[in-house]
Symmetry: C3
Subunit: 395 residues, 3 copies
């Protein structure tokens, strides 16, 4: 008797109705890189596909297959990491059967992953234990390298919003390793083999030493996105389509990034984000919560220009300009002429604008041009010449 | 009967006198990298040699050989791109015959290219169609990837002056691709193969995603030139011998660069150029025409020091100093003492110098030291201590 | 008759008592990379182990073995470079015999090097002449690539203190070459083979052109040290354990670095050093003796914060803060209120503090917060909020 899509639907409903079952927040299957000296040490987890608040049918199939394959499937914890087994794959293939013929291109990606796993050549160098089925049920501290990577993937693929995830525990879970491109190497292995490797001319070309890989090691950007130097974007950063990251003084840390087409020639520190159409000038610094801000993550609005070597430690609105070299911290005293107050008030009718403000007072204020008067050295604000889209609700 | 150099000369004259013939501005033979999914998409063109306003004899031989090999040789368009064929190569070899024995080292490079092409091993992985003979007859918008690369080569080899070429259309012609070092990969190919590549541990180490390759992917710098990080110089930039590009915050974009021995630790934006003996300090920013200037490309003179984290949006003369952290934009108001006016006037007798100037007023003014008075915050200019070579014609 | 550790000790004493013998400052055995065109040109020297003011027993054995193997062992010069030979290795093995069984892990590293050299496979691609035994007897100008590398290793492994070595002659000895990761290539070889390499698709992916390799090409950092981009740390730099070097605008040149756990997001120029617990903010510049300082190498104290895009050209004490964007050069005039003078004096009782100081006057002054008053543009100093450890000897 043929097993149909209708049967698949019933299977999923049946699984989801069982007591032990719980929908995960995110899940996926990863290939792990293990320590050269200590194979118990997971150095990296590579996901061909991740699911985040989606594809619960596939989640049900995978959890059910793990259970049938004899794994202890405990959905009461915050996460679950199981090794792939032949029994698990066979069960998945059986359940996914009606979708296998059409699992191509963008369709049924989870089915594609199972098919690809099932048909890996025997001499791939990896064993079933190098593939992990990973579920996150609660967004608490990461308890494994695999779940830490799953969260970073959720951010870097744009499936989870910046600042929306609990990233505690990630630094603790990841190991500091040497990288040769996207291949991690234990530092201790290098130490043990340094003499032989160096004398025989086999010492590897280390490209970095860090806990994190790069964004481009794991994520394929949109066609109109450019990253001119892979070292400039850490894994866990988010780049909206149309973003360009230049190789001069740019850097985007994890849990930071862009929400639209942005030119990035400066630094976007962890927790900071920049709106569509904005320009982070050469060497401009957007500070992170750990240094120079008042603890509030910095948001830069849309269509705003941060000039070369400017520095921002507090929120800046839409259509603003910071002149090259200007620093605005939360406590920076900024003077406005009566004319400037009126002009800025006109486009920000619901905001308090006065002749003497601090950097932090400009939260949500649009169309401001921050300058240093080169005659007096005074930091001033005036109406920006950049077009401001007025909020229709306010008028 | 022996074919001699005299015969070659007559051949060239004969070709050049024909109606259809026209001397090209530039020409060369490129190997092209094609899309992995779409082989019609040219991802990169690599020229072992380019000719720019030179070697018209070789141009005549190549155009004639294309014609004899049956190509439609239309010299009335702005450019011509033809595939190499055995007939073309045979015809070239025949014409170049007297030069082949002495085509070694720096002699007869075009003949060397033809010889090398003729003797490529059959299993090189490339076909005749992967080699293109390319001519530019008019400096209009690039109409192909091959001609776009030829122009970028002309700039990066120093055969064409910075700002001298029409670069419109280059962004449109080049495809945004992933790079593994100097190998371009279609993003769509990565997407189609992501699951298999990642599961099998074959996902490539992407080094960047951009339309342009790097300068060092195509050009061998002078013996006294240093580029400490290939990501810091885009293809299409120009580096005069003796230039050093440091890996901190430096970047040199295409159609920008140096005209002599320059220490570069900061950014030289597209269209900007820096004279011999100058020093672009750590994090210093020279703005491009698209951001912060008044639309005039910025030229920095000779023997000038741009201090760390300074920012320049307007022309600066010879033997000037910008103090670290100082920003000079076209509209920046700058104060000069009477003494400073006199001292600067002394070495710039033909310039208007006054006690109140703007940044843009210093065009062509030499020997100026720009500072911010740390007591008053005022931006000031005084006589620089750097030696100024006076223009003998003026005295 | 068994040769024992006691015999080894006697052998060493005997060698050391001979007239010709002299303890070296540093020594090691290097594998050298030779020029592709000119094999006499040494492009790089890779040491699996270096000794610096230590392990004089091994030094004696190596010098003695060279002598017995027929080398001209002249210890009266500043350095000695000899090729390895089978006779030399046999003599070393004989002398080191009692230590060979226990030469594992961290024990008897020099013995391990000799053992590894003796058991290199015959087809390693290297000959005995590619291995050099190198000694430095006097810290004068480097006279060979091998001794230049030995000094840079001494700095980068932390065995010699920053600024403690004579580095003259190093630039002169090292050749400017193209690098493909850690493999050096003569520029002339690239030029000679450019046509064939490019046409056949074999042109290498050059990663930089410089005289120096990178720190990570030769040194394995501590487990808690991170270098997020290998290009950011030149060989000859020193990184104390716990240092993190970010990939934005950071750079650490040779003979510069950190003396404890430091976050580095800015530039540490040659000759500059930074104390434990300090933070070099994004784009911050610490100037080197060649640009912007008064010729005194800049030392940054412990627990000090240099804000983003700040610039320092003079010594800064412990527990200081430079606000983002602030520049302090030796001659910068800095104003202090009476209250600030008193508060700073309190924790620096032995220093001259007044209401008008210059940057250079703050040498050894702790707990200072440098700012620019955003209302007046004046550069001011006040008491920093960072905790200052008072010197117990002074109280």
């Amino acid at each position: 008797m043929a097993y149909t899509k209708e049967d698949f639907k019933k299977l999923v409903e049946d699984i989801q109705s069982q007591d032990w079952y719980k929908n995960p927040i995110g899940f996926g299957i990863a290939r792990v890189d293990r320590g050269q000296l200590n194979p118990e040490k997971i150095l990296q987890a590579t996901y061909p596909l991740i699911n985040w608040e989606e594809n619960y049918g596939s989640a049900a199939v995978l959890l059910n297959a793990l259970k049938k394959a004899g794994n202890n499937v405990d959905t009461s914890g915050s996460e679950l990491v199981c090794s792939v087994s032949d029994a698990f794959l066979a069960e998945c293939i059986e359940s996914f059967r009606p979708y296998i013929p059409e699992a191509k291109g963008d369709a049924h990606k989870n089915v594609q992953v199972i098919s690809a796993l099932s048909s890996l050549p025997i001499d791939s160098g990896y064993t079933a234990d190098d593939y992990k089925v990973v579920f996150i049920f609660e967004d608490t501290d990461a308890k494994s390298v695999e779940s830490a990577y799953l969260k970073l993937y959720a951010l870097s693929t744009g499936k989870a919003a910046l600042r929306s995830l609990n990233l505690n525990g990630i630094f603790g879970q990841l190991h500091n390793v040497a990288w040769v491109g996207n291949q991690p190497i234990e530092l201790d292995w290098l130490r043990e083999n340094e003499i032989t490797l160096k004398l025989s001319g086999q010492y590897p070309s280390i490209t970095k030493v860090d806990k994190f890989p790069q964004f481009l090691d794991h994520v394929i950007p949109a066609d109109n996105t450019r990253v001119l130097d892979t070292n400039k974007v850490r894994f866990g950063a988010q780049l909206a389509g149309g973003t360009t990251v230049m190789p001069g003084a740019a850097y985007i840390n994890f849990n930071a990034g862009t929400e639209g087409s942005v030119m990035v020639e400066g630094r976007i520190s962890s927790s900071a984000k920049v709106g569509a159409g904005s320009d982070v000038g050469g060497g401009a610094s957007i500070l992170g919560v750990l240094s120079g801000t008042d603890g509030v993550p910095v948001t830069i609005g849309e269509n705003t220009l941060l000039g070369a070597n400017s520095c921002t430690g507090t929120a800046i609105g839409d259509s603003c300009i910071l002149d090259a070299g200007v620093t605005i911290l939360p406590g920076t005293k900024i003077a406005l002429s009566e004319k400037a107050v009126a002009a800025i008030k006109e486009i920000n009718p619901d905001k308090e604008i006065s002749t003497s403000m601090k950097g932090a007072d400009f939260l949500g204020v649009n169309g401001v041009h921050f300058r240093v008067n080169s005659t007096t050295g005074q930091t001033i604000a005036m109406r920006s010449t950049r077009e401001v889209k007025l909020n229709a609700d306010l008028h």
